[in-house]
């Protein structure tokens, strides 16, 4: 990342970047009919005459789609238009059975917002031009002899979030997508599963020299991972710079990024402006959002990740790094809030979540929402560690057991007792063990006394081994130091 920054700083060109992000809405049913929005499923099993646009069918707008769009708008500091409308955007392609996509042209639901992103050491505000609702297209499966159409995804509700061209580097693009994804996840507007295509972006890029007019813009379509968006942006900026440095001419074009090969190629050169013969969708009545509705939706907004991070730093004294990791996922962050909120030592809770809990979720292939215990169990575990009743390695073991079905519903205390994981903090017993270890390892003891202070860790290790991992390592360390004093 540092290298890319340096390269960008060294270039005589400035990049101007704007993003169009499509997010599939987390509704149960499609946007204009009751078909399921579940990902996958047998081809064409979530399709009805409505989403195929058969003659005689009428679309009926999903209330939740409007609510989610307003919610995203409020979370992104937008103005919510009291009156908006849907329009038909016409184009002919087999993934769109009706021959038009229902979208919004001049009266979107939300306008004029902003999103703060990390940029270098500071923050940067990226303008949100608009957010509108529209329908997704179906999927084409290209065979050797023909093309097959799967309409399962067709007519699923989307919001399109159009940024202002306020970004200037691949890092900006990454930070913007990351921040946007967080907000959509926290608000529950989209599940943002990029691997399932439920969050994807088109990237518009032009470059120009300082003081000169903006350059010719290209558009890269359908980037479906944060890292691909970043790599594609870096590549396209370099490509445009190279063309201009060699005295070439850039064309306004639509490009496709090939993430495997790490390069882009031209899908089509734009000779004319796109002509979609938009007109107002006559079958869907105008969307009127009242101030009362806006207030009710605003009340459902959760605390945003940025505010959470600040609270974690101020109230719990977590580092920026820890606060950042914890808030990447709302479910993990909620777990932390429950445990730390119940008075358990915050740093221990954070370490347990970022360490063993995250690792075990990964190993079991569980999404964080499905962690098999709640914040109160985590608080109990963190308290046991905090009181010195168990060691951190024993805490790891207890966490592992919490994931085992046979221990389902058991409290950490019960597991500690059952597995005899309690830490030995009995001073006289530990002193006896230490004395034995020092006697058995005269050479290491002599090394320590001779000034090799790090030799003590070998002795601590021996005591831990002798105690089967149950000795309190802090006490062992202190006792050994006392015993080894010259």
């Amino acid at each position: 990342m540092a290298e890319a920054n340096t390269a960008a700083a060294a270039s005589e060109y400035k990049a101007v970047i704007g993003l169009e992000v499509h997010a599939e809405l987390a509704t149960d049913s499609k946007i204009y009919c009751g078909c399921s929005t579940t990902f996958g499923g047998e081809e064409n099993s979530h399709v009805c005459p409505g989403c195929l646009g058969m003659p005689g069918t009428l679309p009926l707008l999903n209330r939740k789609a409007v609510e989610y769009c307003v919610k995203a708008g409020l979370a992104l500091n937008c103005k919510i238009n009291p009156f908006s409308r849907q329009d038909r955007k016409h184009y002919f392609y087999p993934d769109l059975p009706k021959g038009f996509q229902v979208s919004q042209l001049d009266l979107p639901v939300c306008q004029n917002g902003w999103l703060e992103i990390k940029s270098g050491d500071g923050v940067k505000r990226v303008g949100i031009n608009r957010i509108h609702i529209e329908e997704d297209a179906g999927k084409l499966i290209h065979g050797a002899a023909d093309t097959k159409i799967d309409c399962n995804r067709g007519a699923t509700g989307l919001i399109e979030i159009v940024s202002e061209p306020d970004m200037s580097s691949p890092e900006d693009v990454y930070a913007y997508m990351e921040a946007l994804r967080e907000i959509l996840l926290y608000t529950g507007v989209s599940n943002c599963k990029m691997e399932e295509g439920s969050l994807r972006c088109d990237i518009n890029i032009s470059i120009h020299k300082d003081g000169e007019p903006y350059g010719v813009r290209t558009e890269m379509k359908n980037l479906n991972s944060l890292s691909a968006a970043k790599a594609a942006t870096a590549y396209e900026i370099k490509r445009q710079e190279k063309v201009l440095r060699e005295g070439g001419v850039l064309f306004q074009a639509t490009l496709r990024w090939d993430d495997d090969k790490g390069l882009n190629y031209v899908m089509r050169v734009k000779e004319h402006a796109d002509e979609y013969y938009y007109f107002p969708e006559p079958d869907i009545m105008p969307i009127v959002v009242t101030p009362e509705e806006i207030r009710l939706i605003r009340d459902t907004l959760p605390e945003m990740p940025k505010a959470r991070r600040e609270r974690y730093r101020e109230r719990y004294g977590l580092s920026e790094y820890d606060a950042g990791i914890l808030t990447v996922n709302k479910a993990l962050s909620d777990l932390f809030d429950q445990a730390a909120g119940a008075g358990a030592p915050a740093k221990t809770c954070a370490n347990l979540i970022m360490g063993d809990v995250a690792r075990l979720l990964g190993e079991k292939g569980l999404p964080p929402e499905q962690a098999p215990f709640d914040g109160s169990a985590l608080a109990e575990l963190a308290n046991l560690v905090g009181e010195g009743a168990i060691s951190s390695s024993a805490a790891s073991k207890v966490t592992e057991m919490l994931f085992e079905p046979v221990y389902a519903g058991k409290s950490p205390k019960a597991i500690v007792e059952e597995m005899d994981l309690g830490q030995v903090s009995d001073e006289s017993a530990l002193r006896e063990m230490c004395r034995q270890v020092v006697a058995d390892n005269p050479k290491i003891a002599a090394d320590y006394r001779g000034g090799k202070k790090q030799a003590i860790s070998a002795l601590v290790g021996q005591v831990m081994k002798a105690s089967q991992g149950k000795a309190n390592p802090g006490m062992v360390n202190r006792l050994l130091q006392e015993l080894l004093q010259p």
């Binding site: 078909c35 159409i149 379509k221």
Partner: protein
């Protein structure tokens, strides 16, 4: 306003329809007549009249986010000119994204 053959060709291009020269000429002629006929509306006095996009005065007509069963696939595909039992088939298209 007369609709020219060029306009017809441009629209046919967008709709991915191939036209012979005679067809383009005929459509230009026919559509020009239709356009002139419909164009009479433009002569009406509309000063002070708000633009109307819908023929009824309703707003915010919604349905609740409730899933209902989709059409069985056999029925869905029954009228398709070509299908393979699970999907609609078209002649091979290039992926334009």
């Amino acid at each position: 306003m007369a609709i020219t053959k060029d306009t017809i060709r441009q629209i046919a291009g967008l709709a991915k329809i191939g036209l012979t020269d005679e067809e383009a000429e005929r459509f230009a002629r026919d559509l020009s007549k239709i356009d002139t006929f419909v164009g009479q509306v433009a002569k009406l006095e509309t000063e002070g009249v708000a633009p109307a996009t819908h023929s009824v005065q309703m707003k915010s007509v919604y349905r609740d986010d409730v899933m209902i069963p989709s059409l069985p696939r056999e029925e869905l595909l029954a009228n398709a000119p070509e299908h393979d039992g699970s999907g609609f088939l078209t002649p091979k298209v290039l992926d334009e994204g």
